[in-house]
């Protein structure tokens, strides 16, 4: 698409500048030129990516000037001649082509289109019209991943993610605020959640190992069709919010795998408060100290097994039994009984949910 755009400009410039002008891409191939026969030919120059966007590069009687968007040098314009005028023309053309490309990309850019779909900035009726206009494949499966940067530094996480998924026809990367980056990724049909989590893990690991940046990733479900991309994104958003409350130690939360937290997160807070009052009517949960709560946590982790838990806690079995009796006395719940244990477990989660005071999506 860019080639045609550039060729249009070169064609118009032919008469204004009485010299051969054209554009080469990163493979040093002429993609647009005032002399049509040159299109497709290779030129022997230094790699476009290695050129300095601020300085002209001269080779074999031509002056080159690199350009691209957002600091990514993708093209170089060339003008016949090595004199000062050639340098000036090259500079003018690079500025002009950058602006034209930017305008074109904004208008017809698929990335922008997907961003608008995800953020509901486009009318539902317009989605299909625009998708057709952009030749956007409506039949493939895609998934939304929301990457939240927790600790930023001087390196742009956006640049890193964009470079990890450079195929602009299939994958779309955009920022939605200071800390959140969205990746809409084309996936093979029937992909497993584990594979998506592995993909998310590779993003988190690359950001942390290469750039010391901490990130968490929410994963939506796989969807087909453009409109549903927004749904997948909202699921990814919800997964992150639920994870923030219930799975604080996890860096990857999949909407497919929220478990009981999915239910609790949907409960109205008044209902939660009523439930807590009912469960802890004989003694407030707040009267349980940190050590007791830690003991309970370990007891649950060890499947209500007293011997195993006492071994893990490095305490005598009787000490643990005493602690469990104390909890029973305070709350009326005997954690050695499955029914009581499950009520207590849910109550702890509800308490955590209320304490987190999450902003509902």
């Amino acid at each position: 698409m860019s080639n045609r755009l550039f060729q249009g400009v070169m064609h118009q410039m032919r008469d204004a500048i009485d010299r051969i002008v054209g554009v080469v891409d990163t493979t040093s191939t002429v993609i647009a030129c005032s002399e049509l026969s040159r299109i497709g030919a290779s030129v022997s120059i230094m790699s476009v990516e290695a050129m300095d966007a601020q300085e002209a590069y001269v080779k074999d009687g031509y002056t080159y000037m690199a350009f691209g968007l957002e600091g990514n040098i993708e093209y170089a314009v060339f003008v016949e001649g090595v004199d000062a005028a050639a340098g000036k023309y090259a500079r003018l053309l690079s500025v002009s082509l950058t602006s034209i490309k930017q305008y074109y990309d904004e208008k017809y850019d698929r990335n922008n289109f997907v961003k608008n779909v995800v953020l509901d900035n486009i009318l539902p009726g317009d989605i299909y019209v625009k998708a057709r206009e952009l030749h956007f494949n409506n039949d493939v499966e895609r998934v939304a991943l929301l990457i939240r940067i927790l600790s930023s530094n001087d390196v742009s996480a956006y640049d890193v993610i964009q470079n990890l998924f450079p195929d602009k026809q299939k994958d779309f990367v955009f920022s939605i605020n200071e800390s959140d980056i969205v990746l809409i990724k084309e996936i093979r049909s029937g992909i497993d959640t584990k594979d998506l989590e592995k993909l998310a893990r590779s993003i988190v690991d690359t950001l942390s190992s290469e750039f010391y940046t901490r990130a968490v990733v929410g994963i939506g479900t796989a969807v087909t069709g453009v409109r549903d991309i927004a749904r997948s994104f909202k699921e990814a958003q919800l997964a992150l919010e639920v994870g923030k409350v219930f799975d604080t130690e996890k860096s990857i939360v999949s909407y497919d795998n929220l478990g009981i937290a999915r239910l609790i997160y949907q409960l109205p807070t008044t209902l939660c408060e009523t439930f807590l009052k009912e469960v802890f009517r004989r003694g407030s949960i707040d009267s349980l100290d940190q050590e007791t709560l830690f003991t309970i946590q370990r007891f649950f982790e060890n499947n209500l097994n007293v011997s195993e838990t006492s071994r893990k806690l490095f305490v005598h079995r009787n000490t643990l039994v005493y602690r469990l009796e104390k909890i029973k006395k305070l709350t009326g719940l005997d954690l050695r009984e499955f029914d009581h244990a499950i009520v207590f477990k849910i109550a702890l989660m509800v308490k955590r949910y209320l304490s987190a005071n999450p902003a509902k999506l």
Binding site: D159, V160, N163, K198, E210, Y212, T248
Partner: protein, 375 residues
Amino acid sequence: MASLSLRDICKVYPGNVTAVSNFNLEIEDNEFIIFVGPSGCGKSTTLRMIAGLEEITSGELYIGTRLVNDVPPKDRDIAMVFQNYALYPHMTVFDNMAFGLKLRKTPKDEIKRRVEEAAKILDIEHFLDRKPKALSGGQRQRVALGRAIVREPQVFLLDEPLSNLDAKLRAQMRTEISKLHNRLGTTFIYVTHDQTEAMTMATRIVVMKDGVIQQIDTPTRLYNLPANVFVAGFIGSPQMNFIKARMEETDNKELYVEFGTERKSYKIMLPPSKTKQRGITDFVGKEVILGIRPEHISDDPEVVEKATNGVVECDVEVTEMMGVETYLYLTFLGNSITARVAPTSQTREGDKIKVALNVEKMHIFDKETEKAIVH
């Protein structure tokens, strides 16, 4: 190069989920330390705390002489390699290794020097112009290592870097990483759940379970002198055999262990090398766990005949011919044990055989605390 000091490090997540408790470790310059343990034992969390990617709940972490608890990761002079490395698909190997430095605005000639040096160390100089899809798994792994090397850090942190590779490549990369450690002369901290990786590469191993250090020692000492039942069972493949027993003493004050059922039992007299060890008599009359490694059980008729102590009659359930050795899966009096015998062994499935336990190599653990009593 740098030494590290981890003092009473704890990590507690919200909701009282304790990931690491009272972690104490002194790491010397140029050591190759490996954290090993089952999933969820806190080894990766500890590594991430060293990296600065997880906050330390309590305790102190020193790199060199500097307290780094509140120092951001980028200023800790460390480099990390994780299991799920991702290479930039559209970039050449050179650019993949240089990308991080470019984003940090490192001068071009400096980037070139570092990348070329790292490529030379990793022997990937010929691939610098290739893109990731043209590389094999091992070569990609080397590029991932290269991205860490170009940072010229004081400490390398590696979190299961070989887990995604197949067994053959993993064995090859183990050697490569050991060589790399020698060549770089830098401190390496490596996390794995694979005890073979730990045993073959580490100068010292930290065995962890449930966020608690079980033992810190050299591979040899860890194998020969495990601190408890967990370490004894975790290190070694096939794992150590455990038999529930009771320690008793004869009228002549000679110690022995007895195991079996009410109808039939075996007595094994403890050799002087064991009975001389301090505190052993405290366990007389108590339940203990007898530990014996598979290679210390012999089915060789000559050895069995000569043995005056520790001979047990077993049923052979399964035999596995491994090439250089044969594994015998045996049962006796409700116990299942594995023996590692010579490939020339004539024992077959369904046989009833006598095996000799090498009593000098036996370990005895306290049944209650699971700590080692004697080795």
